[in-house]
Subunit: 368 residues, 2 copies
Amino acid sequence: MAIERTRFEAATLRGFAARALEAVGVDADDARLVGEVLVASDLRGIESHGVARLEGFYVDRIRDGRIDPQAGATTLRETPTSLSVDANNGLGHPVGVRTMRRTIEKAQRAGCAIATVRRSNHFGIAGYYAMLALESDCIGVVSTNAGRLAAPTGGREPMLGTNPFAFAVPAEDGDSFVLDMATTTVALGKLEIAKRLGKPLQRGWAVDRDGNDTTDPDAGLLGALLPLGGFGTETGGHKGYGLGLLADLLCGVLAGGVFAPDMPDSRDLLKPGIVSHFLMAIRIDSFRPVADFKRDVSRSLRAFRESPPAPGFERVYTAGEPEMMRTKVHLRDGIGLDPIVVASLHSVAEKLGIDPPPPYVATAASLY
Amino acid sequence: MAIERTRFEAATLRGFAARALEAVGVDADDARLVGEVLVASDLRGIESHGVARLEGFYVDRIRDGRIDPQAGATTLRETPTSLSVDANNGLGHPVGVRTMRRTIEKAQRAGCAIATVRRSNHFGIAGYYAMLALESDCIGVVSTNAGRLAAPTGGREPMLGTNPFAFAVPAEDGDSFVLDMATTTVALGKLEIAKRLGKPLQRGWAVDRDGNDTTDPDAGLLGALLPLGGFGTETGGHKGYGLGLLADLLCGVLAGGVFAPDMPDSRDLLKPGIVSHFLMAIRIDSFRPVADFKRDVSRSLRAFRESPPAPGFERVYTAGEPEMMRTKVHLRDGIGLDPIVVASLHSVAEKLGIDPPPPYVATAASLY
């Protein structure tokens, strides 16, 4: 059964998100940055982190006072290679973009630079910030912590968020390697989809409340996600758990923000300003001429893309390649949004007394 | 059936490894560093990367001319935050230790620093080098590429090595978080053990020659390892694949060394000087006072260690904790070596006309 999606131009959605945020007191520049990051996510096909979250994660949280739309970020410490920022419970996207830009400038002068941001909020896809490094011929590394959802290996209690890491490495002609990965096997949304479809979970996705491996969506939703590598140590679950805790140490602890023992459960959405970010940029030509580096990255990516596929697979992709392909299609044909997301945008428009975003094509059959 | 292990003092094994390497033309300082890193691995219980490899990986390769025991490393480029080194096909351990020390010194002055090493050889456990940062109140990050063994997600050909990442973060009172992980689900040794025991592989460890998921040890050994996350994308195999390729880009490509398309198969041991390393140090007090940081890391580690275990698990461990516990036991009781490893050390002694290492206790029943 194909879902009837409505298509929108990227620019339309960007403008709508910005107008909505301005209507709740966000400055024009900040609102524009949030719209930019949200729609970049939709363009890449990561619907869960796009305009679908505009209402619940940002507009509503500003309206009920949980996020401060006027919070300016404060620089706590600064050196030629480092930046320690307090977001003062403002929106995560503007402080994320501005801090990553400052980090890249520092890396261009000093060779490498690292920033931490504390007391921030959900900033969308980590990959967006890592990719900002690409234009400046830098390698970008970004992580964030998040509300608790995942059990440590051998444990039963959710102790860590999906704590993603994103890495962006430039190649020739605008090509790149962009790995943007949660350190859990899957996001919570996958369990919700399985539940909706009445399907069992894959092993390695979740444990029940008592910490037992489970394939029951209800039990998993009441329990905890598993780290990348799955249950126990036999298939490397301790590695994903290690990466998740590393993210929390680099974000929460290094930033002087909230970290695991004090982090609330992700399903308790009441707590504001609990998120910390880690952002790093590395200047490539400290090591090799940029052109040589990019040529070799491109040669590597080509080798993987052209390597023989396994039975049942069309071909081998490199990290970020499917997202790049989807971005091209979405820029050409518009972004198809799920009816639930469209309804949420209309709800935002109604709440705020602004026009809803006009569709690109009134009703299009699913492109997916 | 318990294996009869022979116990040795760490200092005895260090001295023996150093004497053996000096006997094949390695300078005393370099030989001492190799012994130090190999025995650190045995102390941590990572037998596969310890003195077990002295004969096949180092002594024999120097004797037949594949590794140059007298190769001095060359600094190709240097800035206050970066270091690009050519190991000139020398041993990996001395260049690894010296380059990491220089990187840490740079980070102490500049805030953060990164080094690459090309044309190196197998340098043992990546964690050893990352841990050098701990004494200087820095965070250490180290990676290396390696001969091909692992298939990319959706592929059938081994394209990547086990390409580990190691991260070391200091805590209070000598405690630490040390995550040292291959980006494959398991190392090849796990398949060899399964074959020896006549046991099936776990799903997610390997594919056969055609790229099909397999639990047959023989098929897996002829095929390829799977990236962390296992087969396909459903349980996150593309994430482990992404991390493995990232390691190759940060090591092989950034160093200007050998990278995936040109990397030989790991089972073809004839090629020398093909390995590259990536080493990074981050000075903590650019962001926060070190004492505050370490206090919070300790509080975080405690929270995980004390979190309630799942059924079938004794307790929750943090990354590097089991290795720290094993080190204490091995320093007290000696390092128990497998008879095959003891035989290999005797073979080295005989080849080189030196005394074999005297055991700590003549023959001890297994402590394991």
